[in-house]
Symmetry: D2
Subunit: 339 residues, 4 copies
């Protein structure tokens, strides 16, 4: 059955599979020391305009968040994040498993804002019992957020300024980064200059799997390869990750994939609007959130698959439709015909 | 340069790449709930003759060891293993990172024996200070061992009997399992009946990556998928793992790959012996350990790559040559001509 | 300067010091296996009317919470608690340090209620993404709460019923338990029958230090002494704890101490009310919360010490005055004369 | 029954109890910020001749080792120690619980030597697979050792030189430090200048409980009080620790206690030798190890208590007799009459 449940339903962009086949019999060293990883890193450094960036390839989003956050925080530190943040809700406690508290502050359309953040930090540093509390050591956001929304340039700058003022690492979860950078106010280069650490998601953007974790300011934790190994996350055939990112950052393939997927999401938005459905968390990236009644959901679910995201009110639910590199106009047309 | 350094130098067996391409555009659900994972599990259950086995696919060996061991042990328990064991030496403290002590006992050609094990356990349970010590909760071995050696049927039975007597989980690290089961006294089915938990390695046996972790006796830790997620190890496109193992267990491909690789290792052994080199840890699996002088190493290294494993005595080193699915007779001939 | 900042300002109740002196030269075995620990346990079992209770003595409240919670939860589980709960705010992340998420739900006068709890649990078990989330494994409350308030019998019964329904351990932090049981609807025996695990605080109720952790339903984690040791919390001269609790549970000393302290708190309440101060979180235990302006605080602070607890509104603060076994009527009179 | 099983059989030195009584009704702030802690720290700084030392009081030895080691090590680091070391054998895996591997090297009479240490470090840094291994970050010894033996000045200097060369923290477990410094080549001041971090044991040397952890070189981990709290080890009535150490370091009481105990141990040695018993691990501190047959043990155990430490050979056991501040000449005479 046709599905719009998420952006990791298919395999990989054909270019990636092609390159995996072409290089299959080559012998390379393991653990990410090969030439494909090297080449991919060079291309990414160029794309983010930061020749000093330090880049590591990992297999998935939760893994990347867990290792980056555990690697960067001191034992007595926690990470501030929106209460709707992925690390706070949907990573099975992976951050706490490594010993760190997630310090949740309110979300607004999936985003945190600098007013709430400032208040949290002021209160913390004014508290007499501070020594008995978890020190904030990092601010985590995702770009786009869980709801597909984007931070404005000003919003990122304000958060980053607070991070610098309070000596916090600013970390951006970029599981869907591409879908955001081709649309919002912030390009890939901007993102790379508005935070300390971020990752470029591959799993949800055309790769079989893989994320590129980037330390922007000579701030890589010491012996980080060992830290990755200690977390069980060092891929023996590390070239798999290098080859995929080398391919994604060749001839702007990454950008192209994201633009196309966002356009397909626009088509989905138009389809629902043309049938008078109401959208929520309206955004311009690849996730479309639509209000539906229980009856509408049940009927549509017999023809096409999608996620029921949350309850909206007594009778209404928030549903989610997601596009990817593999979404075709034809599929959107089928969806339009069914709603 | 031609390399024999390890068994993960190339990509994947061509059948695997073919199947990844064929299925690329199909939409499947994520996180290992797809039909390919299901099919692969059925094939493995048949291959190990255990219809009740519970199987999970993970990405790498250290990851699999870490999650299985942390998932199975109680907080106050540690895992007994050879002092040369992979988890004791080459996993960057991944077991300890999860809170558990590795209880090392002496290795003999890479193996532990039931005499030492019995003695360790007797002493522990006779100790008045037992409550201040780490309780043994598991025995870990690898098959083949780090040195390519194999346990006899009797040796496995004796260890397993002790595990049952002392209520320990018997866990077999099968990173290179196939290379062992096609040669030694124990078939895949035997292994599956001589332990509580084991994994079938894919990374070192023809897959791009992937290991199949198998709980044999209805002994899966509760909510194990959540445990995997918590470790950052739940692959979004889980079908990648299912497709690869489905392919490896189709028409005995896994067995075929291992037989061929072991034959190539035999050829390497013959080559060295014919040139009067001395072998150590002599075994019948895919790792060949050869004694060389510093001069021999330096000269050969200019032509072919291999690992210098350890010092043997003042002037002699133990080197390692490894075969895989991709090793050809032609390459072994080149090696023979160079030594 | 006279201080009302907390209930651990002085040493121990004189009876305790006396007994420590009397027994000082006796030789006993270590680690809590001595006769004083045994005797104290018997007295506590009688006091809580549970001959099968399993009791362990620990040194402090955070330590007890940490070890009890880490000992009882499975790795994939978290603990539900009021967002104002001690483990969520003032234990420096001790629970997360051991790998577990604190699942905060709203507080109402320091308490959680069964409606919010039911909603949290219903939503969790209705969530399709449940496997990617932290499973609730325990409910934590404190009695009295951080704000000195008490749960009614009905409130405890409702929470405990939900715990049973959803297979959660119900754990009561009794750092100030005595101050509550001598006043509210629930006696010590009631508490012991309305939860699975709780502790009787000593540090804040007359002891030099020490808490008695009680497993009510044959639910002690296996090898719990080893778990305590592993947390660095097994006192060599364990008799120190036994002697203190033996003394506190001799001739109802514990109850007597608490009654007196609560009466002193009543006097403090009367003093503030007679001078037209407004109280908040009004309760009947040993903590009195008073609204004061900045000027009032500054003036009073020159004469007597107390805690400024929180901001109330722009110009008003919540202050806290605490009584203990050592608070005298004379001291309260001095306070009255100063406000 | 008269017991020589260990040095924590009685309560506290009478001077300590006296001071606890004298100060009992004073009100002080909590968590170690009080004047008694301050005064004790000043006295210790003088005693170790290091005005810049940073001192924290904790409750027990395992707790101190755990927090110091976890606080000082980076996540990827482990601690080198004798295979007989307390942290490796008798702390229930407390170090591993905090994520760190104990890297055991051979003991010789309970001590490590610089030759073995140098070899371990050379091999580690020569290993090509270093990134897959646990980095050594600290050397742990105890002074005296588990067997009561002492390191010579030269031995400590050699180990410390290696620590500096390889950037390792040198940590000395001083659970019984006093018994060593009054006898061997190294005074308290010497110890304090021959390592980076150490602790002065109180529990086994006259206190009810308590250890003084000392950072010698401005090397305290940041926010260390919070780290202590996070481990559940921050005592509310911190003055209990301050008062005890203030008392122990008043008028050389600590030294006096240790000298007396060591003299009593000498008497015990003489007693056994005069009856032709053989001693092992012969040393000059407060632990006496005596060889006994099973019959001898069984007979003596009916009259006096002591520890059976280990098997020596088929028919012989190593027993242990320990003296403390409370051991009297009269008791040693009784022992002499029974053996």
């Amino acid at each position: 059955m046709l599905s719009f449940t998420c952006d990791y339903l298919e395999g990989a962009h054909p270019e990636i599979l092609k390159k995996l086949s072409q290089t299959n019999l080559e012998q390379t060293v393991g653990y990410g020391e090969d030439d494909y990883c090297l080449s991919a890193k060079e291309k990414i450094k160029k794309a983010i305009d930061n020749p000093n960036a330090d880049i590591y390839f990992l297999c998935g989003g939760t893994q990347t968040n867990q290792i980056a956050i555990a690697g960067l925080l001191k034992p007595y530190e926690g990470v501030i994040c929106a209460d709707s943040g992925h690390i706070n809700v949907h990573e099975a406690g992976a951050i706490e498993y490594c010993g760190h508290k997630v310090l949740a502050i309110p979300q607004h359309d999936g985003k945190i804002n600098s007013t709430d953040l400032q208040e949290y930090l002021s209160q913390f540093y004014a508290d007499d019992n501070q020594q008995h509390m978890v020190y904030p050591g990092m601010v985590y956001i995702s770009y786009p957020t869980e709801y597909g929304t984007l931070y404005s340039r000003r919003e990122l700058e304000d958060i980053y300024a607070l991070c610098k003022k309070y000596d916090l690492t600013f970390y951006i979860d970029g599981a869907r980064l591409g879908y955001g950078v081709v649309r919002g106010e912030n390009s890939l280069k901007d993102i790379a200059h508005l935070c300390d650490v971020f990752y470029i998601g591959g799993t949800k953007i055309g790769a079989l799997f893989g994320e590129a974790l980037i330390f922007c300011n000579n701030n890589t934790p010491k012996h980080f390869t060992t830290v990755i190994k200690q977390h069980g996350a060092l891929l023996a055939k590390g070239r798999m990750l290098g080859i995929q990112f080398d391919c994604l950052f060749q001839d702007d393939l990454y950008i192209e994939i994201c633009q196309r997927a966002d356009e397909m999401a626009d088509e989905i938005r138009r389809a629902f609007k043309s049938k008078n459905y109401r959208l929520v968390y309206e955004n311009c990236t690849n996730q479309v959130f639509v209000l539906m009644s229980k009856t509408q959901i049940e009927r549509l679910k017999t023809k096409v698959d999608f996620a029921v995201w949350d309850k909206y009110d007594e009778d209404t639910y928030i549903t989610r439709f997601v596009s990817s590199w593999a979404t075709t106009l034809q599929n959107v047309e089928i969806l339009r015909s069914l709603i």
